[in-house]
Symmetry: C2
């Protein structure tokens, strides 16, 4: 599958299913890198597919039949995680190499393992690029989205030789690879990504329900939340449900944290609040 | 106090107490606009005052004695709101015109009214510029911070003729004036500004307490929160306590909103989540 680096492209053909922000940007970068002979794919949304073809994201459309997927050297599933889990469980033709870009990993590893138990014989290397923003759809796709970004791979099998091919694709578009256990990934991202999104949806929703017109009054605070809360609703509904248990733990943690601040405000304990805010303010220095 | 527009500056002298991001930027803009003969002031933090003088934020230092403040045409108090309330209650020399830039208004109006009841005879026009970010101190001050920004004035007296002078200062640095009742201001900003800050502190604190090292793993979500939570801790502790009742109501509203999302995730109700996220995602279009 993975060819020598001296001559020709790394992959004869890469198949991208889902031509939104992540899938579309990846297709553009793979094409620009010259690492693939052709980049083909599809999108279940006909309008998105047409746009992706118009924008030159795909070389051409190829329906996602098991045979078409098997014939590609690498299949990238850039679709919401619940659909992903179903596809992985349904299985692929023997020898197909599949990766994904989903924000939740353990349910996918489990779906793959279930498919293998039921006799499927394809390869799956779970991946999660830490990239993207609140925009979505092929029109949001752009070159360079993954340059310098981290991509977390959570191998589903010990010493999986196919991890190398998927890692090569990502490094070829400028990303840095980090390998992690799927469950650890899901716990960390429940706290640092999924929880912040749920909080943003909650806060903006609370303001909308209180008085819709107030949203336009916002300065710095709420504006950042409305941007986060403008992310793809279907994708985030999938993430929330797919990472249910770990996300609920994180949300319970947030509730405890809010209660602590609530009590300090209630009792007028200004100094405790300042101490807490000071501790938190330093966190920014630890961001990479 | 307020001079004719044909000759000379609008104010002979403006006094700025507090040379941080807001006070310092306002001093720079007032100087650049030529609307004041001199811009003098002070800062209770000696290091900040030295920096403000080094950076040319103030023409010169003048201790904030009641007599010095009275001699200025306009006194801008750019200090945390609890200190503000105490100063307003202590009172100023008769004829002094005072304004402020605090994020909470009703406690200031009350402090001023209390001072008046006790015989003080100065003028106070409460103001709140919707500008600034997570940076603080004189080194963060910059010209143009208020260009196009809204400034909310919440007059403490009916048909106060001094509102015009304060409004002229703000329009002179490019801001747009909006007049509002103090209590309405405090309720709106409890929801659109103070609540989002408390939530950001809570979320970042929850992650720090869960596992400090995770902060560096964050992509888009948590990163925005750490920026909000990097705001001036003392200033925000003051705001939270000063706007206690209305902020606690907003925080209770957020708790209800979080519980709603928690329940939907718990019961795996993906479609309700998507509906809610969709409704919220549209809020961004309503931002000015």
């Amino acid at each position: 599958m993975i060819k020598g680096t001296t001559t020709g492209p790394l992959f004869k053909s890469v198949y991208i299913l889902g031509t939104g922000l992540i899938g579309g940007s990846l297709a553009l970068d793979i094409k620009a890198s010259g690492m693939a002979g052709t980049v083909v794919g599809s999108d279940s949304n006909g309008e998105a597919l047409r746009r992706a073809l118009d924008l030159g994201i795909l070389d051409h459309h190829l329906p996602p039949t098991l045979e078409n997927l098997r014939r590609s050297d690498l299949v990238v599933l850039a679709i919401p995680v619940l659909q992903l889990a179903r596809m992985l469980e349904d299985g692929f033709a023997p020898g197909t190499l599949v990766t994904d870009v989903g924000s939740v990993k353990l349910p996918l590893v489990r779906a793959y393992q279930e498919a293998c138990r039921q006799g499927s014989d394809y390869d799956f290397v779970p991946g999660h690029p830490i990239a993207g923003d609140e925009k979505s759809g092929p029109q949001a796709a752009r070159r360079g989205l993954f340059r310098g970004a981290r991509v977390i791979l959570t191998p589903a099998r010990e010493a999986d030789p196919q991890v190398e091919a998927v890692a090569a694709m990502w490094t070829g578009v400028g990303a840095r690879i980090q390998v992690m256990e799927a469950e650890h990934h899901d716990e960390v991202f429940a706290w640092v990504s999924h929880l912040p999104h749920m909080a943003a949806y909650s806060i903006v929703n609370s303001v909308l329900e209180k008085d819709r017109s107030w949203v336009s009054m916002s300065g710095g605070g709420l504006k950042d939340y409305t941007r986060i809360a403008a992310s793809n609703p279907g994708m985030w509904a999938d993430i929330a449900v797919a990472n249910r248990e770990l996300l609920l733990q994180a949300m319970a943690g947030l509730r405890t944290g809010l209660d602590e601040i609530y009590s300090a405000i209630e009792s007028g304990d200004r100094d405790s609040l300042e101490d807490l805010f000071k501790r938190v303010a330093t966190a920014r220095r630890e961001m990479r």
